[in-house]
């Protein structure tokens, strides 16, 4: 792996040398920093201010109809942490976030490697895999609701009956099967898009590395784990980060596929925020939920970033 170490060392030396001879001193630095100003303004007004407002509302009984509110302290937080439906929502949200992230990654990388090879009809196969990423998840949820209908006339059930004489299976009616169904549809919808992301990185790996490895007698497996996978770690960081954040804030797919049911089996945190806030006019409670959720997502996201950066440093 010396070949991969060389560019990293070269880049670092270049950066150090450039910083030593930075022209213009602090004035130039100030001008450079000024370019960050629009981003900071956007960050403050679209993230910091709403988050601060949410925190404020979370300490009140705000109903959304009048800004005349009563301070209720941490009562909303107490309600959330003792409400079985909210805890069920937290459990499924974590399961969906982690489940889709792990399985999509396990599918997308080998898929990208295969789609990167030359074969007849490659573009068509790539398009077919990418297609589920185009329609909205809400539309996909509604379509899959009919496909996975627990009735004998459901698409999957009637196919299973015709081919194997099995069924009908309670895809969306049994708590466990409903959870699995939502996660599988989520994986199906995301795998192709993330495979394309990995393909973009695969195509930037110089072919010479593989040629040298082949000359040295490396098998296909050794080439994958010794060259492909380490050089894909930047893509891995981006892909898993996107998957985890999208998975944790998932709303449209479970909402349209199962509406959070049966019971609270597939209820998500985002759905409980929307239901509490919009449908039930309990904005104080919804704000408290949003604050707790932001903290949890931030902790998970930073943890994940730290982990992937550690892996990245190990390989690159």
């Amino acid at each position: 792996m010396t070949t991969t170490m060389l560019p990293r060392a070269t880049v670092r030396e270049g950066l150090v040398a450039r910083s030593r001879r930075r022209p213009g001193g602090w004035k130039q630095l100030a001008v450079n920093q000024a370019f960050l100003l629009p981003a900071i303004v956007v960050f403050v007004f679209l993230f910091v201010v709403p988050l601060a407002q949410s925190f404020y509302w979370s300490l009140t009984d705000f109903t959304g109809y009048s800004s005349d509110v009563t301070f209720v302290g941490l009562s909303n937080y107490r309600t959330i942490l003792t409400d079985p439906s909210m805890l069920a929502a937290l459990g499924f949200t974590l399961l969906f976030g982690v489940g889709t992230t792990v399985v999509v990654t396990l599918i997308a990388i080998p898929l990208a490697v295969q789609l990167n090879k030359r074969f007849f009809g490659r573009n068509l196969v790539r398009s077919l895999w990418f297609f589920p990423a185009i329609p909205s998840m809400a539309i996909l949820g509604l379509v899959w609701r009919y496909i996975l209908s627990p009735l004998e006339s459901g698409v999957v059930n009637s196919t299973l009956q015709d081919l194997f004489g099995v069924g009908p299976l309670a895809w969306l009616s049994d708590g466990t099967l409903a959870r699995v169904s939502v996660i599988v549809v989520g994986i199906w919808a995301a795998a192709g898009w993330h495979a394309v992301l990995y393909m973009a990185y695969l195509q930037s790996i110089p072919n010479e590395y593989y040629e040298v490895a082949r000359i040295d007698g490396a098998s296909a497996r050794q080439q994958f784990f010794g060259i492909t996978l380490p050089l894909l770690t930047p893509a891995l960081v981006i892909s898993t980060f996107l998957l985890m954040t999208a998975g944790l804030k998932v709303f449209d797919l479970p909402y349209t596929l199962t509406n959070g049911g049966p019971g609270f089996s597939t209820y998500t945190i985002t759905q409980s925020i929307v239901v509490a806030g919009v449908s039930q006019g309990r904005y104080g409670l919804a704000s408290a939920l949003a604050v707790l959720f932001t903290i949890a997502v931030a902790a998970l996201a930073f943890g994940q970033l730290w982990l992937t950066k550690t892996i990245e440093r190990r390989f690159v």
Partner: protein, 411 residues
Amino acid sequence: MKRSRVAAAVASAALALSITACGSDAGDGRTKLTYLSWTGEEQMTPIIEAFEEANPDIDVEASYAPPVAEYIQTLQTRVLSGTAPDVFLIAAENKTSLIDGGHVVDLTGEPFLEKIPDFNKETYGRDGKVYGMSISSWAAGYLYNKDLLAEAGYDSVPETWDEFLQMCRDLEAAGITPFIESVDQMPTTLSAWIGAQSSEMDPPLDELIFSGESTFEEQWTPALEEYNRIFTEGIVSPDVVGLDGDMVRDEFANGRVAVINAGPWVINAIREAAPDLEFEFAPVPGLPDGKPFQAGAATPGYAINSKADEEKQAVAKKFLAFLASPEGVEVFEEQTNDVTVTSDFEPTPDPAFEPLAAAIREGELYLPMISWQRSEDVLNVEAVAQIQRMIQGQVSPQGVAQALDAKLASS
């Protein structure tokens, strides 16, 4: 320079005039009335045109938001930002917030309310006051396939629950799927039974529960136990928890099930999918100590913004008076197919829906969510989820009722 100043002055004056026009009248001398419609634009436009024709000095500026969540959200945002329309809809989902917040005008004693039945007035009222004018109601019951029932020797849905269960067994013996009920909402059967029970009580059931004199456990458990029989006795598959109303309707339209729960909104879709299908509605069979009843409620009521000035409120009342008049109701019925309830207009519902239409006009309807006195949606979400769990065998009927008591206590 002088020329540009004059141009600026003219432009400012024009702007000021246009802003004034936006604020109070339509700019052509007519008074502008703002209205946020729950009904779609295609259906609402002829009603508004009829009103404007009858009141040429008023211009209705309508905006639209589809029910339910989007409407509630749009109205709530406009109320909070001080840009609420002069007339809007008060519904089950927002009535507590609108009344508690003093956002709606008390309509008690208005002449146009005289032709509205008490049931509809009470739905959008509190403590004897009326805050919304509801001119129609809806009902849901059982929809049955006449041909399939005939195959098992029945010509209609029986009036008692035990007889209905026997009919289901007979249908099953004849190789016909007897009954499917979607439980993605509050089950029609359960709403009807609780309604029948409440109609025999004084004070009504919900008044006892919400005043703390009784509990869900005491009032709901017998009905829940009876409802659970169709799953524990294998008459209906627990898989129904994964079905929505459209799936159930499609099964019925394709002749794969004899009886489903439904309301008038399925009629057109079934006729389109199966023009030759013979079907009719019936009330939900009664429990041994009850009577046949139907789920249903008054449709959302027209309410007037209490922040609107007196002139606008007067114009808004004219709008409501028109909607309640025979002319207004006629156009309303034509456009929405709702069963209207005003005393001086006789609606003509679809023949298949006739068995439930009389109950609508008599106010023999019940829907828990609209009858509950607070935390309506909180309790409804909890009830639906717990009933789904009961059907799956994860909680007992008593456990469902206890969960509702716990939810009420914590909300």
